[in-house]
């Protein structure tokens, strides 16, 4: 028996991807929504368990290297799990599980009956792609999984009920393809210069040739491509439409995970492969990222204030929050990388909770426009509680996860002697106060419009996951051991022997 468990543990990195990948065609074959949901949900639970085991193992025993099919790297594909991607794997698979628990009622309401099993197939395929991007130690393999997750998310967004979903998906498809192509060009240049695609090999060979122009070009292509996928200002234009038009469950899942995974890849390429010295001393990545991040923080928040559709408002808020993460990355210090990873984790929780709450509201009133929120404070008190809790976390009020993020971010800025940055962070947090409070006032201060029948809470299968996610925002504001310890360990690994 122990032998079986030992075998299982040895193959965890492969299982992380293979289980959801195998579940995808099964969902298709199942043909019925109920059965497909069971398959998808089981696979997501298994993925979460795998990710948790991997997180535990990497944190206690160090980095795990797995050779796909027994082929030794660099000939075969290597999967490398350390604390950095273990945290991402855990976030992505856990959010997928909770959102899938939320799905049945929401999907039954928003997706045509005939294609619901296809929805689950695409959903689990998207999960596969995101997990694969995080787990692999091979530069080209990243591209493959990037395409898997992107193509499935185009399909998922296009399933949104309104016709606008089609243009949003098409816009995202164009932008996403450009991003992926840029990334591929960068990887191609690296392969041309080094003859390898294995990340560890790339890391070893790049220093010798780092003054050559193709390597600088590769870095530029890869950074721009990933910035497009991560929706970093000014490459964010696809994001608001995509998040606003997608089905509720898809918005919750993608908003919490997709851009985060791209930011992780940016971290991985910048620090592990190119090295911080190359990226920040030879090339001006510090100022490029810092300036764009600050603009993103303000442009995103300002745009959010003026949105009438709450899902769009949250999408613009995401652009601002991605700005925070990028800002932390641009500091290129151990504290900065920790802050980035912590905020990746915490922001995933906030946005998943908020978009799930939007799903609950859409389920009942068929709209997420702010004027239709009038009176909901009384009619859907629990959903509104979840929105307020996650909203406070978004603001960074103490005892919520968001505060922990801000705390580490500000500390990183102070360590870098960038006092003025602290003022900008505080100012942009105040903009978040404005848009979160617009929501609170709409929910609590206005009487429900005449003519709308009395609505109640969404079904428990939707409400409970939403409340769970909101509760996690509070929990991780109090007990920060998991994200902070993982992030600090990851920052040490990513910066090992550099700067």
């Amino acid at each position: 028996m122990s032998g079986l468990i030992g075998d299982l543990l040895a193959h965890l990195p492969a299982l992380q991807v293979v289980v959801p990948l195998a579940a995808a065609p099964l969902c298709l074959l199942a043909g019925r929504a109920g059965l497909a949901w069971i398959i998808a949900f089981t696979a997501a639970v298994a993925a979460t368990a795998t990710a948790a085991a991997l997180a535990y193992l990497t944190f206690h025993n160090g980095t795990i290297s797995y050779h796909m099919g027994g082929w030794a790297p660099p000939w075969g594909i290597e999967y490398v799990v350390d604390t950095a991607n273990a945290l991402i794997l855990l976030l992505v698979s856990a959010i997928a599980t909770v959102v899938l628990a939320f799905c049945p009622a929401s999907v039954a309401r928003e997706i045509r009956p005939g294609s619901q099993h296809l929805f689950y197939c695409m959903f689990i395929l998207c999960l596969t792609g995101l997990l694969g991007i995080a787990v692999t130690g091979d530069a080209f393999n990243v591209f493959v999984f990037l395409e898997i997750s992107s193509l499935s998310s185009y399909a998922l967004i296009a399933m949104g009920g309104h016709r606008k979903a089609l243009t949003a998906a098409f816009q995202y498809l164009i932008m996403g393809t450009i991003g992926a192509t840029f990334f591929l060009i960068g990887v191609g240049l690296l392969y041309m210069m080094t003859g390898t695609l294995n990340m560890a090999d790339l890391q070893a060979r790049i220093p010798a040739i780092q003054d050559s122009r193709p390597v600088a070009a590769a870095m530029a292509f890869i950074t721009v491509g990933l910035a497009l996928k991560a929706a970093l200002f000014p490459l964010h234009l696809w994001l608001p439409n995509a998040y606003a038009s997608a089905p509720s469950a898809v918005s919750a899942f993608i908003a919490a995970t997709a851009t985060k995974v791209s930011l992780y890849v940016l971290l991985r390429f910048t620090f592990t492969i190119f090295g911080a010295n190359f990226a920040f001393l030879n090339l001006p990545l510090h100022w490029v990222l810092l300036v764009l991040a600050v603009i993103a923080m303000f442009a995103g928040s300002f745009s959010a204030i003026f949105q009438r559709d709450v899902k769009r408002m949250l999408a613009y808020s995401s652009i601002a929050q991605i700005g925070y993460i990028t800002l932390a990355i641009s500091l290129a210090s151990s504290a900065g990388i920790s802050a980035a990873l912590i905020h990746i984790f915490n922001h995933g929780l906030m946005k998943a909770a908020l978009f799930c709450a939007m799903g609950c509201i859409f389920y009942r009133i068929g709209s997420t426009r702010i004027e239709h929120f009038a009176g909901l404070g009384r009619q859907m008190p629990w959903t509104m509680t979840a929105i307020v809790a996650a909203g406070l976390s978004l603001l960074g009020v103490p005892l919520t996860a968001g505060f922990i993020s801000k705390w580490y971010l500000v500390q990183a800025a102070l360590q870098a002697d960038l006092w003025w940055l602290v003022i900008l962070i505080a100012a942009s947090s105040l903009l978040a106060l404005v848009y979160v409070w617009r929501l609170v006032e709409a929910m609590y201060f206005k009487a429900p419009p005449a003519g709308r029948e009395d609505v109640g809470e969404a079904p428990l299968s939707m409400l409970l996951p939403t409340l769970l996610l909101a509760g996690l925002n509070i929990y991780f504001g109090l007990d920060t051991r998991l994200p902070v310890a993982m992030a600090e360990s990851a920052a040490a690994l990513l910066l090992r022997g550099q700067m």
């Binding site: 103490p398 005892l399 100012a427 947090s429 105040l430 006032e441 201060f445 007990d479 902070v484």
Partner: protein, 487 residues
Amino acid sequence: MTGAALIILALGLPLLAAPLIWIVGNRPNRREAVTLTIAAALLLVVLAILPLVLAGLPVRVALGAPVPGLNIAFSVEPLGMIFACVASFLWIVNSVFSIGYMRGNNEPRQTRFYVCFAIAIAASIGLAFAENLFTLFVCYEALTLSTYPLVTHHKNAEARQAGRTYLGILLGSSVGLLLPAIIATWVLTGSVTFTTGGIMAGKVGPVIGGILLLLYLYGIGKAALMPMHRWLPAAMVAPTPVSALLHAVAVVKAGVFTVVKVTVYIFGLDYLRELAMADVALYLAGFTILTASIIALRQDNLKRRLAYSTVSQLSYVIMAALILSPLSTMGAALHIAVHAFGKITLFMAAGAIYTAAHKTKVSELAGIGRRMPWTMGAFAIGAISMIGLPPAAGFISKWYMLLGAFEAEQFFAVVVIVLSTLLNAAYFLPIIYAAFLKPQTDGGSSHGHGEAPLPILLALVATAAGTVLLFLFPGSALELAGLLVGR
């Protein structure tokens, strides 16, 4: 019982009250019984801590650390003891008053009102006992958020606008200025724990220290240093009990309490004496005292006049703390308690007038003293305390402030105190004069009202008596204030 258990009880009782009040919400008598019982129990618990603090025993409890090195911890010291005693005693009095006012005016959403009140008290107690800036900040924000529903109680357009001002200024200043100041303190000194003698000396230079002082003073928006004071008059749209407890006691006192804590235990008086910015801050506080008094003179709405009086009185505490002599620091600590008693009396009198006579303007009060002798008698005592005359407690705190100002040779502060005493007299005495000596303007026949309901009167008389008693028997308060500065 150990000190740690007492602190947990003091925090837990009001937190426990909130769900209990909610559960029995549709039975008003039981709901009010829960509030009063728990308020009384809280006062007993706080009083049980008092002898421990007077004896100099350490009373502390740590609940955990969300970020390594940043504890959620509580530890009772003399200043916090004063604040906790005042808040827990006045919660009882104010609850009695609330019962009379809320029922007398048929206010809606009373259950929510009492629930939020209990949470706000828990936050105040936590703030009073906070061992470090981080814990204090958590309680400070909890206080802002839990009082927001109280300020916007009426849910109309005016309340929403006031709520925006309230939250905008309080959250804005705390997130935008106070939090960066706390984090900077943490980065520069490696500590945010309140320590006797301060933690800045030798670690923070004079320029950064000066900037930090301004960040703290303006970041603590609840202390209403101009121009951060606008939330205070705006919040007067709330029902009077809210104005009474929260904007005479809990919220504003949380502000000046934090200022005194920061000056004494973070900067340290010795460090501040070396800081040129401390003088600038003193002038800013003096400016606020005088300007707010002049604005108060021109207000015809009684609650607004009281609100601006509060703005002015709060800066007394800030100025007294910045005079930087031990005697004036004692004055600052005493004034936190003294002003609380005096101002809650005045607000409750305003509430009594509104409940009995539906009058809100100063100009309508001619002759009202004959119909409401108890109310206006209490009002007079509160006003005398504000002006700083014996036999009201306001005299004692002003006395210490003046002593301290002379000791530190801060003659600017002396001039400000004298001028503002005249201004205080100018905006309070005409009210008393009109109430008792002028003939009634509406002929007294339009509607025959007498005194407000009995619970309101009881509460009023209790706080007015407290104001006088604090003058006659200042023993424990003086002793605590002395402990604060090591005398």
